[in-house]
């Protein structure tokens, strides 16, 4: 079995990439992709900790990761709808364009 540290390391690196993407890109869709990567990194942690616990009888870590996937799906749906709305209003998916409060 691969030691827990390696999973956590991969998860941290994935989280870092996601964060860098969210902070540096201004294309709304790529920002969403970055958020997804961060959520996936968290999921990997949940699964790794769940699997490396001595008592694996319960499926709690697994279920938490499942709920996280559900939340991510909802987040993507709303996020993409916002991007479409932004595109309709501004003809661009550039997040810099969305700095006014009124549409």
């Amino acid at each position: 079995m691969v030691p827990l540290d390696q999973y956590l390391l991969l998860s941290a690196l994935l989280f870092g990439i996601g964060l860098a993407g969210v902070l540096t890109r201004r294309n709304g869709i790529i920002v969403l992709i970055g958020v997804e990567l961060m959520l996936n990194a968290a999921n990997l942690n949940f699964i790794a900790f769940w699997r490396h616990r001595a008592d694996t009888g319960a499926a709690d870590g697994l279920l938490f990761a499942m709920f996280a996937i559900g939340v991510a799906a909802a987040e993507v749906a709303v996020g993409l709808a916002l991007i479409i709305a932004l595109y309709r209003a501004r003809r661009s998916v550039n997040l810099d364009e969305a700095k006014e409060l009124k549409g």
């Binding site: 079995m1 990439i17 499926a59 909802a74």
Partner: protein
Amino acid sequence: MGLTFPLLATVTWLAALGAVALRRPVYAALSLVVALLGLAAIFLTLEAQFLGMVQILVYVGAVVVLVVFVIQFTRNDEVPLTGLAFRPVSLGVGIAVLVTGGLIACIAGTPEWAVKPPEGPPPGMRQIGEGLMGVYVPALEAMGVLLTVALIGAVLIAMRGRSTSLH
């Protein structure tokens, strides 16, 4: 195990890097597919079979498909992508590196994880189902409400954009 995990981890990480760094959104989305498949494979090596499949079903089958759909819908290829939101870029990357470094320091700094090698087979579908229908029923119901609200909200947001552009 041997080489499986390092290989999968490298592929996943490089694909994730591509997903946020590639200029063209379509390439980013396709790179994201590779990263998600790699993660699903890692879940399989962790014996979380069901979750690996859910990962493919939800992320590759629905989320990425939605993303490429929106990329096409917004003619994203024609938008100039040179600018960056967090200026200077090095500031954004620096923050990310700092956070990652902190996380890695925490992982490396922990002398020993209070874990024992797992015994016995992992819980199967039955335990997952019982968990969902037993202890976690409130969470499941909340998830249902959340997804319904998100669905309606997404439709409303996308529709309202249309009506304002018409007037």
